[in-house]
Symmetry: C2
Subunit: 413 residues, 2 copies
């Protein structure tokens, strides 16, 4: 993520006049690829056009009232710093949650983090020095780029293909990307942006590579329960990588509490957790009230998670069923999470997405979609793909897919 060769150019760009220059890493830090399109969407809304947001991973569902009840019942006298690793009842609740999905951690093997984001950043800090490398499978969650810039880590993307639903390649292909600077492999299972769930056999391949090359395996499992057809397997179910596996998790999606910012980093590797704890001490603590608010959810996950997962399964089915009505697209059946990457019959999906939000309308409605280029690190990859987040209700989802269908017809004329 460091583009040192661009240092002079970029610095000159921002360094006009007599004022100090920002850093090269700040210049090269990616902005959200969707920001400009989102701004255009707001303009379009002001002109009376309804915009369906297929671009964001913020579910439209209500948060369970127990969250707000718990918050209302907090009767602290002082809103004091929490311990840096998290408050004990929240750590115990994470332990209970994990036990209920077959994963066993002690409280001492976890550090509660400000969202899954901080968990990933802490893991990168813990395993990589400057310019060390982490292997990812491409397309990948776009913010991994930002975390890598923050942690001064270089991501090495192993390409996946829509032709097999973005499943993993054989070990020989993964090993091609290992260098002397490789410190770990980062997977997101079930995957954002592809919705792919890795089978036990696929995971075994990664586990064997990790073990053979003595790497860390960073596993972002925030969509764990969003598994519709395929069975989900955690990296924690492979005892041979007990010291290599680092679990990165978050309440955000499965409990629909994205705004709480409560995640966790967990590992049986004591040095890793001790490291995460030291990075945690520097930022003092995670918001106290939100830690309390997550406790009832984590202690009884099944009852809160299942309604959400069932709703998304229904939407996945609606989506998958509708896609056959859109001519010329390439797709597969996404097995989990709430995303899909679709190949469009266009040359440049970014241009199409821009045109869709800037110019197209059908009965005063249009849609905002995410061009897939933002989920690739390799230049030129994903040029004709988009990511759809099916975080809309049934009626809106159907209508937004219809809009894409009509738009593609109009665009290709």
């Amino acid at each position: 993520m460091n583009e040192t060769s661009e240092k002079l150019d970029t610095k000159e760009l921002v360094g006009e006049g007599n004022k100090p220059l920002i850093s090269t890493r700040a210049v090269t830090m990616q902005a959200s690829p969707l920001r400009k399109l989102a701004a255009t969407a707001e303009e379009r809304k002001r002109k009376g056009i309804k915009v369906y947001h297929l671009n964001i991973g913020q579910p439209d569902l209500p948060t369970d009232p127990v969250v707000f009840e718990t918050i209302r019942n907090i009767d602290h006298l002082t809103l004091a710093y929490a311990p840096s690793a998290g408050i004990i009842p929240a750590l115990s609740a994470w332990k209970n949650y994990f036990a209920q999905v077959g994963i066993h951690f002690d409280e001492s093997e976890m550090v509660i983090t400000t969202g899954g984001s901080e968990a990933i950043i802490f893991a990168m800090f813990a395993v990589c020095d400057n310019d060390d490398e982490i292997i990812v499978f491409e397309p990948f969650y776009t913010n991994y780029n930002g975390f890598a810039t923050i942690a001064n880590v270089n991501l090495r993307p192993v390409p996946l293909s829509i032709s097999n639903g973005f499943h993993l390649p054989p070990s020989s292909e993964i090993e091609n990307y290992i260098t002397e600077k490789t410190r770990g492999i980062l997977i997101n299972n079930p995957s954002n942006p592809t919705g792919t769930i890795y089978s036990r056999e696929e995971l075994q391949v990664v586990v064997d590579v990790v073990k053979k090359h003595n790497l860390f395996l960073l596993s972002d499992e925030v969509y764990r329960e969003f598994a519709y057809d395929a069975k989900f397997h955690s990296v924690m179910s492979f005892p041979e990588i007990r010291e290599n596996a680092i679990l990165l998790d978050s309440c955000s999606k499965r409990f629909n509490v994205c705004g709480a910012r409560i995640g966790v980093i967990a590992s049986h590797n004591k040095e890793v957790i001790q490291s995460a704890f030291k990075f945690g001490m520097a930022r003092l603590s995670v918001a106290t009230i939100e830690q309390h608010a997550m406790i009832p959810l984590l202690n009884s996950p099944e009852k809160f998670v299942q309604p959400i997962v069932q709703e998304f399964k229904r939407r996945r089915d609606i989506l998958y069923d509708y896609l056959k009505e859109i001519p010329g697209i390439t797709y597969y059946k996404p097995e989990g999470a709430f995303y899909i990457v679709i190949g469009l019959p266009v040359k440049d999906s970014e241009h199409f997405a821009k045109w869709l939000i800037e110019e197209f309308e059908d009965r005063k409605e249009t849609a905002l979609i995410a061009p897939a280029q933002g989920f690739y690190a390799t230049p030129g990859k994903g040029f004709n793909e988009i990511r759809i987040a099916y975080t809309l209700n049934e009626v809106e989802l159907r209508r937004s897919l219809e809009i894409i269908k009509f738009a593609l017809e109009a665009y290709r004329k």
Copy 2:
């Protein structure tokens, strides 16, 4: 903060057996210097000894009930992601707060952060590339070391002296520490750990150095209102460094809401704020509920801050008055914040602090103090100094100082 020469040694230390090694930066990342002493304090409490905590910056005062009332009245349906720069009403509240202390920012010139900690880290990211340098005045807030490790920045400490109450040196001395890698100067005013407030003339010296060398001035002003005798001046009151100044702030201390983790980075330098925003986008958002909870405080700061400041002024007076009764110590009148650094008539204040918490008792009571070495980066500095946080009530504060007096007498025998 990078100690590359130690790379092999440290890696060998943790790399026994067939498991992957954590990073050198994780190994060299400082743990809180107080952690071991705090653990001893807990042991001592279990043995029936009362421990007065003079070591932590967590005030004992109650948080204003309006915080909890606001939280109870939040009626969101979904606990959704906040915008990455912060929710609009919280940004407007920060704008209102700043205006009431004579500082003028637009909402677009601020990014709300997870505590002041994240604000400082974002500022370091924005102005420094790897191994760039930031000048600090020593002793300094110990977590600046951790932030520097996270940001891969080297802190260059300019020594201050207890003999003049830790006031700033002339510009020639500051300039001695400027190298071609220096990107900024970081000040904490009023200061943790010294309680020193920099006069307008002192700040002018720093401002002139910053301007002359085209540096950034990062100013951590979280104790702004804790100014008892001396008048506080913000770096934002120096228009000549409009493009150089970066303000780092937090609700934690002035509103006694340390557990809320709501801070802000603010600057008129558009590139700096744009950078902070990009780093903010990677971590998605700051906890939504706490942003709401801070709004009433930020909109009417005077009424919430003044009772807290008056209480700490009273404690400062009690502390200062009591210190003359402790023979052999070196001290000065701290002008702000709620800390003081005291020189003890001992060879090694860390040894004394350890002995105090491990062995000493007076009527089954003892005290936990912070050896000042943790606030210095230069080895050997601060060896006979301690930091006291006067976050105890009047009665406890007097008693804990009495314990230190008795302990010093016993220790020196």
